[in-house]
């Protein structure tokens, strides 16, 4: 269904993927210390001015300043272990350069870069030729690797999420995107409209209808209602 649709259904990162991250390991401190990105050498206004001037020396500052932002947005929508993640982050950074003139400072630079990255993910998923499992990280086989600590509330939460995923799959992808981008990822309506290449009014309408459809489906799902009545995990 989604491969034929104009609007692909969004994907999301899972807390438990990769499963190894949830376990505790006793290792020397130095061995776990990942080198960090250095602090950018230019402030935002200097950085933007340099890019607009066409100064290639700004590339390092741009990379170190906005890569975590783009990385976070891509991971939120696509998952941390997706095979295309690195390419998409790079693509988002280049999109920031090519569209820098559209940034008029009406929102923080982080928010704008995050929208650009989300738009890149949106376009990418729409272009994907082969259909992949939507929300595959949420619906994956992580339970096989679950620790005993996971077996209680966490397992129940994951099971609930898998059911939610089936409901999201069943509603119109445009509405699912609007709901996930706005309510789950925190983009505002203007950003949702930019990301999904629609108008603010259309994004608002899809959001309202998406919420309604999802709520109706959740209420009609006896297994999920019973589970949620047990309290959020």
């Amino acid at each position: 269904m989604f491969s034929r649709s104009r609007h692909p259904t969004p994907q999301m990162a899972s807390r438990s993927a990769p499963a190894g991250r949830q376990r505790l390991w006793v290792v020397p401190h130095d061995a776990t210390a990942q080198p960090r990105l250095p602090a950018p050498t230019l402030d935002d206004s200097e950085l933007l001015a340099s890019i607009r001037r066409g100064d290639p020396d700004a590339a390092t500052a741009l990379h170190d300043r906005l890569r975590p932002v783009a990385e976070r947005s891509v991971r939120r929508l696509l998952g941390a272990s997706d095979r295309d993640r690195e390419d998409l982050v790079q693509q988002a950074m280049i999109e920031v350069v090519t569209t820098v003139d559209r940034f008029r400072g009406e929102c923080p630079l982080d928010a704008w870069a995050s929208s650009v990255a989300a738009h890149v993910v949106y376009k990418h998923i729409r272009r994907r030729v082969t259909e992949r499992k939507i929300f595959e990280h949420l619906g994956g086989a992580d339970d096989a690797l679950a620790t005993p600590a996971d077996s209680g509330a966490r397992a129940a939460a994951r099971s609930a999420l898998r059911r939610v995923v089936t409901h999201l799959e069943a509603i119109d992808p445009a509405k699912a995107w609007a709901y996930v981008l706005h309510d789950v990822c925190g983009y505002d309506l203007r950003e949702v409209a930019q990301i999904t290449e629609s108008t603010v009014a259309a994004a608002q309408s899809r959001l309202v209808r998406g919420r309604r459809e999802l709520r109706d489906r959740l209420l009609a799902d006896p297994e999920l209602s019973t589970r949620m009545k047990g309290g959020p995990s």
Binding site: A13, R21, P35, A49, A59, A80, C107, P108
Partner: protein, 349 residues
């Protein structure tokens, strides 16, 4: 569980989506990525240079058209409807530096749109607008004056600002954006600060808001919260150490027709009670309180906000009345902040 399964599920999904792992770690192919970015920056510059040559003729033609149009306008003696900027003056500011496009500019005269203002530690700067609004920038702050027209937008990058906002007209807006939140007001006094984030408070937001007068709207993580006078956001935050500056009253030609304070307090209380009902799923009670507010104070400062909330509550409880409420909202505030939402409801599925 609060009764609405969608809220619970949204919360669960939000938790999942927010856990993205370590994004600050040095990527393996950093040098390669930087080289590609440098290539993209150079390619963009080359494309723009090519575009400029072609664009020069068009610019010349446009200039002729503009000059001609202006001359025509002068001959006609007509008044243009272009938006005039209400540029700020730095009223009081030692240790203030202004930047425009990355280059420092003198802090005297009017502050141009897009300028960034930085204050030294321990100093303070005040920006005065002709409309009567004043913004006091605390020490060690960085704030960009993004827009200074009917909408005044500020981007706070560090430190704090205290704003005393004059009564705004129907199309005027006053907004302060931080890294993770947007604060919008309509005639009030408030302080926004950026502090080291506390993971146990407000989801780790570094933004702090304290409202002295009126009501302020905070949009954060996809949600909208109204913060009344005397309250703070997030609620769990300790007050920011800096005290509100003593802003000298200055003569203003802005009309002063705000409701009396006691009246405003009553409206705030009613509005807050309605929102509480809405949050706790008592839609009918919320609508009743909003109706009471709108009946008693149809032209009060909260009338538009109350109409929006009423429309939103009805949209989830009574479709027919929601459509009617949306149409009424569009009639009264055709350029209101929720016009798109109202149109979506009025047009219906």
């Amino acid at each position: 569980m609060n009764g609405d399964p969608l809220d619970d599920i949204t919360l669960l999904l939000r938790q999942e989506a927010s856990d993205v792992g370590d994004v600050e770690a040095m990527p393996e192919r950093r040098d390669e990525a930087i080289a590609k970015l440098a290539g993209a920056i150079s390619a963009r510059a080359r494309a723009r240079r090519r575009g400029r040559v072609l664009g020069a003729l068009a610019v010349a033609a446009a200039a002729i058209a503009v000059i001609g149009g202006a001359a025509y306008g002068l001959r006609r003696g007509g008044r243009g409807e272009t938006q005039t900027a209400d540029l700020a003056r730095v009223g009081d500011g030692q240790g203030v530096t202004l930047f425009q496009g990355g280059a420092p500019i003198p802090p005297d005269g009017r502050v141009p749109e897009g300028a960034e203002l930085r204050t030294a530690e321990g100093s303070e700067a005040r920006l005065d607008f002709d409309s009567g609004t004043s913004v006091t920038v605390g020490g060690g702050a960085r704030v960009r004056l993004v827009e200074q027209r009917k909408a005044k937008r500020f981007a706070l990058e560090s430190g704090s600002v205290f704003a005393k906002v004059a009564k705004l007209g129907p199309e005027e807006r006053f907004l302060v954006a931080t890294a993770d939140a947007e604060i919008e007001v309509r005639g009030t006094a408030f302080r926004v600060s950026l502090v080291p984030p506390d993971p146990a408070c407000g989801g780790g937001t570094p933004t702090r808001l304290e409202v002295s007068e009126g009501v302020v709207v905070v949009r954060h993580a996809g949600a909208e919260v109204r913060v009344p006078a005397g309250d703070a956001w997030p609620r769990c935050a300790a007050p920011v150490a800096a005290t509100p500056p003593k802003v000298e009253p200055r003569p203003t030609h802005a009309p002063s027709h705000a409701a009396p304070a006691s009246n405003l307090a009553e409206q705030n209380d009613l509005f807050d009670a309605a929102l509480r009902d809405k949050r706790e799923g008592r839609g009918r009670a919320a609508v009743a309180k909003l109706d009471a507010l709108l009946t008693k104070h149809p032209h009060g400062p909260l009338a538009e906000s109350a109409s929006i909330e009423r429309m939103r509550v009805l949209a989830t409880t009574d479709r027919a009345r929601a459509v009617s409420a949306a149409r009424e909202y569009l009639r009264r505030w055709p350029k209101g902040s929720a016009r798109d939402e109202a149109r979506a409801i009025a047009d219906g599925p």
